[in-house]
Amino acid sequence: MSLILPTIGFSLISASILALAAVGFTLQFGVTNILNLAFAEVMTSSAFVAYWVNSRGISIWIGMLVAGLFGAILSLLINRWLYRPFIRSGTRLFGLIIVSMGLALIIQNGVLAITGPGFFTYDQPHGLAFDVAGIRFTYTELAILLIAVVAMAAVHLLLTRTRLGKAMRACSADSALARCSGVPTARVVDIAWLLSGALAGIAGVTLFMNTTAFSVTTSGDFLVVIIAAAILGGVGDAYGAMLGALIIGFATEFSALFLNSAYKTAIAFVILVVVLLIRPQGVRAAFAAAREVQT
């Protein structure tokens, strides 16, 4: 079928946006074990910072960098000023989930109060398209693909080629042991929040660039799919999240091609449930049961 090749291309674009977000989400969760449901709102607020920059005549690519920086700082502050005090006062996994839900509402309504309820768009290059192996990509789509590949390669190098990456993996596997082995876990946790926030910011901008017109709720609708990709890959495993994003990206786009488009999200979850029934630890990582939060 002539549409199969283009659908592979569109699946890669969807998977790219999803991978940026899912890896950001799972990197932080892997190290801290805090299920941060405000992640999508960090994406939203950062993407609106990019909008603010862009609306002053500055390139959206510069806006994306500013959004990444903003997301990193916001995430770090969220941990230091909100989650950490709660953890110190004895709040644990489920309590923190409720805190993160509350935070998501606060951020979303805060952004809404500033921006208003309308729809917005970036001033970005439109109309340019390139044929790559028979697939017609827009300039924006190719850029998103490239950003995702570079970001994933950077995460891979960080985790495998640096002392910080090894420390992060050690904290993710067993933080108590890592602490006993001299790993500065508090600093590693801070860096995990910074990285997660930066990826959230970049993912937010790529998502908003791809949807053309966006509002304060655009990222919120995406959170469930992000979590699905992270779980599918094995919670806390960055490589698993990349793989999970690919699987869900392809599943949703191909279901839109061969089945009714209305079922595309449902199909992603059918796959998630089936995979978890067969392999509860996710497609890659060791199952993260009985984990405890890290400050």
Binding site: P6, I13, T212, E253, F254
Partner: protein
Amino acid sequence: MTTRVTMARLSATATLVALVAGCGGGGGGGGSSSSSGVGTLVFGELMPFTGDQATEGGQVTNGCQPAIAVINKAGGVLGNKVTCQEFDTRGDAVDAVPAAQKMLATTTNLVGVLGPSTAEAPATEPLLQQANMPMFSVAGDPQFDKSTDPYFYRFTPADDLAAKALALEAKNLGYKRVAVVFTAGDSAQANVPSLQAVAPILGLQITDALSITPNQPSYRTEVAKLLANHPDVIINEGDPQSDATFFGQLKEAGGNIPMVITAVATFSDWQNAMSTAMGSAVLADLMTVIDPYTPTEGEGWQVFNDTLKGLHGNGVDYKQYNADIYSRTTYDACIAMALAMTASNSIDPKTYNPHIADILTPGSDKTTVHTYQEGLDALKASKKIYLVGAGGELGLNQYHSVAGAFETQHYDPATKALVHVGVIPNDELKALSLG
């Protein structure tokens, strides 16, 4: 043991809550022996005020608010003030049922309901009927076309009629190959079966019938699939976010295809999102909007218009709703209820309900009234009345529904508003028998 005790307490509490909700089913107004001095009467707005369908709640609010202003200015209903109260259904049955139960159980002096909308009507209409509560639904769902519920009213044309108007306009514009793109969900999907049924009658070929999941980051695959079948025109209804993404990506894929859009395109939110995604000029070139129509004229509409203008702000939007058929007919519903209560000298819905249809049916022995004050004066003079309000002559049938005409509109990028182009008369739609 502790768990069992807790479970038993929870069960007892749930039972108590259910009993209280059930006992309150008659509504506040029901059963009142005295109709004056009972306190403020409430028109319950059982509509979505949040979520994708929130615009429908705005339409109802912008009909109810001017109505209560007019009624209260004339001294209220039987000496009682009236007010509007929102009950958010969030546009789905799961949230709508508890919202309806809460409204019925807890609202003192509830005398009528404005709503429900399409997505929640099948689930909530039986509850309201059981409570003997008049409801003025905006549900286009064809299953209510021949409703025998004596408390159910619908003052705007059903979706099957709207679907005929959409298909007829596509044919009138000279198109033959039609792609149907509607977002998944009861509200939009209610149009699709009738569209598919009427298309062959008009000689139209449906190339695709896409039901798209709302608020996805990409519809590129759906767009490619649609383009592969080479449609001449797209018939569409969707929320602003989904449509902006879909049509923005369609444009980027090189598919500038004419569109015939339902009444969703009358909302400024939708227009803003789409003009942002496609550009105002492209939108003006490609789009035709089909909207239920009655002329914005007459004494009834003038009072509605002036009152709405005076209330502008705090959730009332004059520019958006002064011509909106849903707001105008909601306004008429409130006026009709108020006059029916006056005519029956009762705020008990069971007692005053039969008078609603009577007030909205013409007759040679009746005095035509256009405003609440005119209606009150005529009733005081012991005259029978026929209300022609802000929505014009409604033409209620035996099922308490209306047929009605549709108008075609185009987008004017200079004023960023829709402009009236023409009318599709009801007779033309009636002629399109679906067998």
